[in-house]
């Protein structure tokens, strides 16, 4: 399997994605942003379609759309009660735009499929390098603002009372999330990106005792999903996103069952 360059690239990219999703996922879950993450992935689809239309690399189109829209979403949904409705409206608008750009770009359905569901074959060494740099940037910012982000994500009231710049933190986190979505979409596709950004961390929440432990476990679960998904996809020739989605969902359901057993005891 590793004699093929595309599989080596896919494993390298998958490893980067699993690490970044494990870390960012912990904050996504703590901040109750699963739905918003789903929307950002749809915006990513639209951005990739725009990239194709404009003759850019899809990743650059994704980066442009997700980063700009994350700032807009952050401003629109500063009040949490408005977040769901604002997110739905933005989601609908961007899916529509994605379809329009694909149509304008005269690309066929298989191109849309590869953006939506990801592709293992299409990842070059150059793509891996670009993903690596973007991921390092995200990790560096998270490292620097970690204490503030942790306080605001796990105890928003406490952070606000302390006078932390919670709105700026929120927008910064959304931009980081946008970058993570764009990076991760390369393998699992924009439609299923939220799987890696939500399920491993949501599963880890039930087993870990500390935030650090949740992060390590989320990374491990994401790595297992991505590596097994890639291997199974190589062996069976079925889509990698199906395997990753199935593995992560199974982990999550096991965690829910385990939690139920714990509370029943």
């Amino acid at each position: 399997m590793f004699s093929y360059e595309f599989m080596r690239n896919a494993f390298a990219a998958g490893t980067i994605i699993a690490i970044i999703c494990g870390i960012m996922g912990v904050f996504v879950i703590a901040r109750n942003m699963s739905f918003l993450t789903h929307t950002l992935s749809e915006i990513g689809f639209s951005g990739a379609a725009f990239g194709v239309f404009a003759g850019w690399a899809p990743l650059n189109g994704m980066l442009l759309f997700t980063v700009v829209s994350s700032v807009i979403v952050g401003q629109l949904s500063a009040r949490s009660e408005r977040r769901e409705a604002a997110t739905s409206a933005i989601s609908a608008l961007f899916i529509g735009m994605g379809i329009l750009f694909l149509s304008l770009a005269n690309k066929n359905a298989s191109y849309a499929t590869s953006i939506l569901f990801g592709s293992v074959i299409g990842i070059s060494a150059g793509d891996v390098q670009q993903m690596l740099w973007l991921s390092l940037l995200v990790l560096l910012v998270v490292f620097v603002i970690y204490r503030f982000l942790k306080f605001d994500s796990f105890d928003h009231t406490g952070a606000r009372v302390k006078g932390l710049w919670t709105n700026t933190l929120s927008v910064t986190f959304l931009v980081l999330l946008a970058l993570s979505v764009s990076v991760a979409a390369q393998i699992v596709g924009s439609l299923l990106i939220f799987i890696l950004l939500t399920l491993p961390a949501a599963t880890a929440k039930y087993f870990a005792h500390t935030v650090g432990g949740m992060m390590v476990l989320a990374i491990a679960l994401a790595l297992i999903g991505v590596w097994s998904g890639l291997t199974l996809s190589y062996v069976t020739n079925y889509p990698v996103s199906f395997f990753i989605a199935a593995i992560e969902a199974i982990f999550y359901f096991i965690a829910l069952g385990w939690q139920k057993l714990q509370t029943a005891e």
Binding site: F151, A159, K162, T210, V211
Partner: protein
Amino acid sequence: MTAAPILKLEHLGVTFPNHPVFSDLNLTIRQGEFWSIVGKNGVGKTTLMRTVLHQLRPTHGQVAYLPAANDVKIGYVPQFRNIDADYPLTMRDFVGLNLTGWKWPWLSRKEREKVQTILKRTGLEAIANRPIGQASGGEKQKAYLAQALVEAPNLLILDESTASLDPVTKTELLDLVIELNKSLHLTVLFVTHDIPMARKYSSQYLMLTPNGAEQGPISGLTQEKVWEGENV
């Protein structure tokens, strides 16, 4: 000898659009005093606390920290916190959240010792590794208090922190606060509806009414006076 003032409210007033909450409020709070802030719902107690915390800009007058703003560290304990029951956040982790700053993501040894000292002082040492989501109401309030105390504040605001607690737990928490008030010379602002508790623990009171405010030594505060104030 009279203790030095730590907080001064001078002709303080807050007006929401077409609705004055309170006006011309003057108050001097000294180091080590224990004030109870009482008054019926909607009279502006929380608005006053938000103004003191500089979360709300006053319409008139000013909030002055003495001798300088940098010398006053505030610890704030609200009634509720929105913390998911499933969060993998231990009591210890929760208390440590308040140690922010441009530092390494993990706590230093000195910071871990600081957290441990506060856990011990608030009686949480034995359950320090329990997830906060699984703690009882009283234990959670103690954890909120411990988090507020970890940065060694000299002004502690309890914003209806005891409202949802049973009488025994309430007494336990306030016994702890009064002990800190005495031993550390910690200034306390206790926002409450519980007049007997206010009388038991405070040294002074501020009663907000729709028509103004009244203040004085706690011996002057009676339940009847509060009812009268509420019916103005």
